[in-house]
Amino acid sequence: MSEHHHGHGHDHHHHDNHFTDMEARVKALETVLTEKGLIDPAAIDAIVETYETKVGPRNGARVVAKAWGDPEFAAWLKRDATAAIASLGFTGRQGEHMRAVFNTPDTHNLVVCTLCSCYPWAVLGLPPVWYKAPPYRSRAVIDPRGVLAEFGLELSAEKKIRVWDSTAELRYLVVPERPDGTEDFSEEQLAELVTRDSMIGTGLALSPEAAR
């Protein structure tokens, strides 16, 4: 950072320093590791590109849409989610041990990781900030209805809520209920109704009207 004209102290809060603390910190880390030959900046680009363009919630939406339209696949997903999901080509990091949990008219499922940020990357991609942040992690287990209300989701008072705390290496995918009025929909059209939040449990699948 030779362009800095205010010396090399550790006080990086000068108004003329256009790097934030974290920018500077990560830059230093990446520079040292690159100079040592321990990381390949092109590999970092490839990782970022993977999660910006290839591995995201559209993967999970395809799984859910197939389960809605194909009872045999749904049964397989219930029995062995890892294999059923892998059959669609979605495997790998933070999707090694998958479980699919199905919403029913009686029960709504909600997934959290109170201890860190465990999330099914292979089907949902990188987790949103709120999923990893203290408010969601603290409240999902003690006040799920209050949390859902902040997502605009009001469940009926008698609906049972099951919260899955991802404390081990199992990663949970919620299969939301199939919306009414979608009997004639193709798998592609169904997938358009499946939001990321509906697969975490903080939302429902979209109605055909809402998706338009």
Partner: protein, 219 residues
């Protein structure tokens, strides 16, 4: 450890505040933090359990005020220093000052797709049969180790029901501290909201955790 990461049931941490059309990254440095963290994980020098423990060992005030990519970055610095790959002096200087430890593997761009698609499965065979069966009532143990554990505080000394035997997996409480993988059976255990939160609990609520066998005893 009873650290700042063990958040289930805490009050006062504010609204969830979901962001509409949230981007994958909120700053360029977050992209680099993700890539550097995953690249260094590929060294094979530490386990996912050790990295989780490094994150939860951050000072509580730091942990609770940091974004998750900041938590990752700070913990990664700890791991890299602990395993001899770099020094604090190098981080301060922003440049290499000396050669450090050599990793088993350096992640190159052409390896990324394969490594990410393979992931890091942590199921392992065990020789024993499961001690508990689906449908059985069990009680979680009460313990408060200063070391890594995946039994949250809110779920200690609580009675629930085994819903499923999920297979056998690396035991993080040992593996985080270099004591070996020592796999155990893992069970999904379901608790009534009232058992966990007592008076005033949502009567429609059940909560499950995935518990290693040594977290449990017969109820």
């Amino acid at each position: 450890m009873n650290g700042p990461h063990d958040l289930g049931g805490q009050h006062g941490l504010g609204p969830v505040a979901p962001e509409t059309n949230e981007p994958y990254f909120h700053a360029e440095w977050e992209k680099r933090a993700l890539g550097v963290t995953l690249s260094c994980g590929a060294f094979g020098a530490w386990t996912i359990d050790e990295s989780r423990h490094a994150r939860e060992s951050l000072p509580p005030a730091t942990y609770l005020s940091a974004s998750y990519y900041e938590i990752w970055t700070r913990a990664l610095e700890t791991l890299l220093k602990r395993h001899g790959f770099l020094t604090q002096a190098e981080l301060d200087a922003g440049h290499m000052l000396e050669r450090g430890a050599e990793p088993k593997r350096v992640l190159k761009a052409d390896m990324v797709a394969g490594v990410l698609a393979k992931g890091g499965p942590c199921d392992r065979p065990v020789e024993t049969s499961p001690l508990f069966f689906a449908g059985e009532r069990v009680r979680t143990k009460n313990f408060n180790p200063e070391t890594h554990t995946r039994l949250p505080r809110y779920a200690r000394a609580k009675t629930g029901v085994v819903e499923a035997v999920q297979g056998s997996f690396v035991f993080p409480d040992d593996n985080a501290h270099g004591k070996g993988e020592n796999p155990q059976w893992v069970y999904t255990v379901v608790f009534d909201g009232g058992e966990i939160w007592g008076e005033g609990a949502d009567p429609t609520l059940t909560i499950s955790i995935d518990a290693w066998e040594s977290y449990l005893e017969h109820a």
